[in-house]
């Protein structure tokens, strides 16, 4: 019934989040949600700020040393080489030590995982990060420092520009939203929020009792929608929604006695309990019912 609860999530969230499935080494399939493009971009921007600040902090003393000692070229060379080292070591260190997460990714709540459901190998982390040099930084450098000369260099600059655009667009055109580095290393970036376990909604002692034909009216999808509505904190509009839901249910199952306003929540919770007990039992006997339109339909 995992598909039902995904359907319910989609119903409430109104946006379709891309899901994939990985199989753990124990053989249990777990669904994962791919990270949005905006999330990945934000995480990268945060990381960019952090590593740029670190690089500047290291540049300044070096440049001062260089200017005062006269070995300016050497100082500049070392400084620029250090920029390359820092940005790669930053990503490689954090993605290995924090199991696929960097400070930027952690703030946004996304992670890098192995696509096949295996462990995230350090060689994969290294490959996926150094590839960024070829995808982005070196072409950018070439484009920015070229353009002074004419002739065949124009064709070269054009090819490099096409290369850059292609890799920038690659995550948008492939199904698993993989960057060039992800493709090479066999990794995937997923969104990983921290979820909490809320209390069981099932009431121990129930006040309202329902017959089996009444409980046959609905299926698992409706049950989970009801659960979500009941779990929401009480608000004014929420109370109105619950009232409407209560009326609809009473109408559908043929509950004739009116439900007073102060007993709406109790009624819905009792109905939820009975319905869930009934559907779980049916499911155990192999007669799972996805929603109210699925077989077996209640006899009219």
């Amino acid at each position: 019934m995992s598909l039902v609860h995904e359907r319910t999530s989609q119903f409430f969230e109104r946006t379709k989040r891309e899901r994939r499935q990985i199989v753990t080494p124990e053989g249990v399939p777990i669904p994962v949600t791919l990270a949005d493009h905006s999330e990945r971009f934000t995480a990268f921007a945060i990381d960019w700020v952090i590593w740029t600040l670190a690089t500047i902090a290291i540049y300044l003393p070096l440049i001062l040393v260089g200017v005062f000692s006269g070995f300016t070229l050497i100082a500049i060379t070392v400084a620029l080489f250090i920029a390359f080292i820092i940005r790669n070591v930053y990503f490689i260190y954090f993605e290995t030590a924090w199991r696929g997460s960097t400070p930027g990714k952690r703030i946004v709540g996304i992670r890098v995982i192995d696509r096949a459901g295996g462990p995230l190998l350090p060689s994969a982390v290294i490959a996926r990060n150094f590839t960024r040099e070829v995808e982005m930084f070196i072409p950018l450098g070439i484009l920015m420092s070229g353009g002074k000369s004419g002739g065949t260099v124009d064709l070269e600059q054009l090819s490099i520009a096409v290369w850059l655009v292609f890799f920038a667009v690659l995550p948008l055109i492939n199904r698993d939203r993989m960057r060039g580095g992800d493709l090479i290393a066999g990794t995937m970036v997923i969104a990983l929020p921290k979820l909490v376990l809320l209390g069981d909604l099932v009431e121990g002692a129930v006040q309202f009792a329902f017959t089996e034909p009444q409980l046959r009216a609905y299926g698992a999808f409706e049950l989970q929608v009801l659960e979500e509505l009941l779990r929401r904190p009480p608000t004014l509009t929420g109370a109105q929604v619950l009232r409407d839901v209560c009326d609809k249910i009473c109408h559908k199952i043929g509950w004739t006695s009116p439900v007073p306003q102060n007993q709406v929540v109790a009624f819905l919770r009792d109905f939820y309990t009975a319905e869930r007990a009934f559907l779980e039992r049916e499911q155990l006997y192999g007669k799972a019912r996805a929603d109210k339109f699925a077989e077996p339909r209640p006899r009219a």
Partner: protein
């Protein structure tokens, strides 16, 4: 009065509806039994995620895989018997987070980096040795052709090499021109700022990247670009040979040139590897084969990128300091030999 009734009791009369009846669900009992274990796992996982492996004691580390497997089995059972959406979503999330903790990288970043450079990278280059051989042959052919053409007739130089790269050198340069303005040109402090970028993000780098990426086009652009590179190199050699400056020229370029040439060689070999995977996919489709084997080609490109940075670094460090040809040659040849030794022998003794 309360009576514990199994949920199967269907005939609830109106009379008993007035009394509070108790309904007990199997999924609730299941949850009550296992919830403590999940909470414990959640605490441990949270602590691990926040502060790393050191924040857990030895006992807790030993509990972790047990709790993880218990959570997985709970998830499998819950999927079958429970319809509580919050529970299912929570268990999936917990199982995933625990999976990432239990199966995360097991070695430190430093160890990962050193083992990558000691074993994986040289092994990847060694695995492509025939491609490297072919690339060497192509380069040699290019250099020979360029050299022979230009040493006979220097107007070939102007037609082969675009003016941007020639930088004022050409058939009209005299020996003293080249000696004073190129090979032993005094270093200008003012040019320091643009220089590293100029050293790294130059024509050769662009050619390298294109050779690698365009391996997708069955390697034809790769071979052509590499041949052209060889031609240009041969032409430059001939220009200096005709003015008896061969050794000085080689010395002048060799400090960074050996590394840069080796880097370009790796890019060419990488492009040929891609071409081979595309042209001969075996039992897979071309795209599948590339995805499977692409990692090998990418490792080679990573090696090439690193060498380019090292080449720019070497040029920056030594250009200012070293002005004598024998010294330049020594440094250049030493560096070249070191690269060859590294790629040929490093990591070979390690047997997995």
């Amino acid at each position: 009065m309360t009576a514990i009734i199994d949920a199967t009791d269907e005939r609830l009369s109106a009379a008993s509806a007035a009394a509070r009846t108790q309904i007990v669900l199997k999924s609730s009992e299941f949850r009550q039994g296992r919830e403590e274990g999940w909470r414990e796992l959640e605490t441990l996982v949270l602590r691990f995620e926040r502060r790393g492996v050191r924040s857990l004691s030895l006992d807790e580390l030993q509990r972790l895989p047990i709790l993880y497997r218990a959570a997985l089995s709970s998830l499998a059972v819950a999927r079958t018997i429970a319809l509580d959406r919050n529970l299912l979503v929570y268990l999936e999330n917990l199982a995933l987070r625990a999976f990432l903790v239990v199966y995360g990288p097991r070695i430190s970043p430093l160890e990962g980096l050193t083992s990558y450079f000691r074993r994986d990278l040289p092994a990847a280059v060694r695995a492509a040795r025939w491609h490297v051989v072919i690339a060497t042959v192509i380069l040699a052919v290019g250099i020979a052709a360029g050299f022979m053409l230009t040493s006979q007739d220097e107007s070939w130089f102007s037609s082969m090499i675009p003016s941007a790269l020639a930088g004022g050198r050409g058939p009209s340069s005299t020996r003293s021109d080249l000696l004073n303005h190129e090979i032993f040109a005094p270093w200008q402090p003012a040019e320091a700022f643009g220089t590293f970028a100029g050293m790294l993000f130059n024509h050769n780098t662009a050619v390298g990247i294109l050779m690698f990426g365009l391996g997708l086009a069955a390697g034809v652009p790769t071979v052509l670009l590499w041949l052209y590179n060889g031609l240009m190199l041969g032409a430059f050699l001939a220009l200096h040979y005709n003015r008896s400056l061969t050794l000085d020229f080689i010395g002048w370029t060799s400090i960074h040139g050996t590394t840069e040439l080796a880097a370009l060689m790796l890019f060419a070999a990488g492009g040929l590897v891609i071409a081979e995977k595309m042209l001969f996919p075996g039992p897979y489709t071309r795209v599948e084969n590339l995805a499977l084997q692409g990692r090998q080609a990418a490792q080679i490109a990573v090696g090439g990128v690193l060498m380019l940075f090292v080449a720019a670094f070497l040029e920056g460090m030594f250009r200012q300091l070293v002005q004598s040809t024998p010294l330049r040659l020594t440094i250049g040849i030493t560096v070249g030999v070191l690269w060859i030794v590294y790629f040929s022998f490093s990591g070979r003794e390690a047997r997995r």
